[in-house]
């Protein structure tokens, strides 16, 4: 018996039918993933990455927001200090994946770890929400995660290369607001998380601390400082209904 398992729900399994369900879910959102990856590829080309480097980053990291943030930090030539900063900031930007993985525990705990962990390595915001939806509808097929993750990965990597090669045809990405794709995407993802003003107090604290640290401390520590301040505040705010 694995710990954290939910024994009242249907037992989890993998199936080829689940792969197809996941792929179909992913196709519904592929246009957004493509637009995002095109923007990343375009930005990567401007920042001096090679085509192979940009495509490799999409293939191995496969986390759009952190890749866009990385382009703010990336330097050519690369230095050891920037490598460490990139890894730290990428981890912090992707901290939400820890929560998403945690939320999968009751569902997947009965499956062999050798199958669960490779599946988890494909987790994205979209495939996570697709899995949560499948589970909420009474499903237990872990292949939905695999199918949506793999489908999005193919579109993600392909669109990165296309953006790199042809994004330069857009004369000035700023004119189309493409340099603002990160805040636009994040805020769009944040709106459904709205649970009333009390739950948003940590967000305000996080934003204020980030602005203050950005003004006083060089580098990208403001992201870590703001995020942790918001989370700590969230732990101490009384959430009476």
């Amino acid at each position: 018996m694995q710990s954290g398992q939910d024994r009242s729900a249907p037992a989890p399994y993998f199936s080829s039918a689940g792969l197809r369900i996941g792929a179909r879910y992913a196709l519904a959102t592929a246009a957004g993933a493509c637009a995002f990856a095109l923007a990343f590829g375009t930005l990567a080309a401007q920042k001096g990455l090679s085509l192979v480097e940009a495509t490799l980053m999409s293939a191995l990291v496969f986390a759009g927001a952190s890749q866009l943030v990385a382009m703010e930090i990336w330097t050519t030539p690369m230095t050891p200090a920037v490598i460490v900063t990139l890894a730290l900031v990428t981890g912090v930007v992707n901290l939400r994946l820890v929560l998403m993985g945690a939320s999968f525990r009751p569902w997947l705990a009965a499956l062999p770890p050798a199958k669960v962990y490779p599946t988890l390595l494909l987790t994205t915001d979209s495939s996570w929400i697709m899995g949560i939806r499948h589970r909420a509808e009474g499903g237990a097929d872990a292949s939905v995660l695999l199918g949506s993750g793999l489908t999005l990965w193919i579109f993600w990597v392909g669109s990165t290369a296309l953006g790199y090669l042809f994004g330069g045809l857009i004369p000035d990405p700023r004119r189309f607001g493409l340099d603002l794709i990160l805040p636009i995407f994040f805020v769009a993802m944040l709106v459904p998380l709205w649970r009333g003003p009390r739950r948003a107090i940590p967000w305000v604290i996080a934003g204020a601390v980030a602005l203050a640290v950005q003004a006083t401390v060089p580098g990208f520590w403001f992201i870590v400082a703001g995020s942790l301040s918001g989370a700590i505040a969230g732990g101490f705010i009384d959430e009476r209904k």
């Binding site: 230095t79 981890g91 988890l120």
Partner: protein
């Protein structure tokens, strides 16, 4: 500088570092829930974390980019409230940003 078909060793290390950090995030929450019972306080902190990360990243970018960024983000929020569809909202946000850039 780097030709388009080359990979510098340092860039490769940077990409591998990012991949390792992201992979760790993807598996650690699942692993943790199997080993550490989370207290109510820690769970509340984890619940507040995603929105805090977004705020800590987005607000400084908005301040740096001024009026067009604020208008674009306002339009995204409005679009998400009207039609809860991320892709329509992103399109609206980009459109407002480009219009605002042209105007200001």
């Amino acid at each position: 500088m780097s030709a388009s078909d080359s990979v510098s060793l340092m860039a490769l290390l940077a990409i591998l570092g990012m991949a390792a950090a992201t992979g760790l995030m993807r598996i650690s929450g699942y692993w943790l829930m199997g080993h550490v019972p989370l207290t109510a306080r820690v769970r509340k902190m984890l619940e507040a974390l995603p929105g805090s990360v977004v705020a800590a990243i987005v607000l400084p970018i908005m301040v740096r980019n001024g009026v067009p960024a604020f208008l674009a983000v306002g339009a995204v929020i409005a679009a998400m409230l009207v039609r809860r569809n991320e892709f329509i909202a992103i399109f609206v946000g980009l459109a407002v940003a480009s219009l605002a850039r042209a105007a200001f």
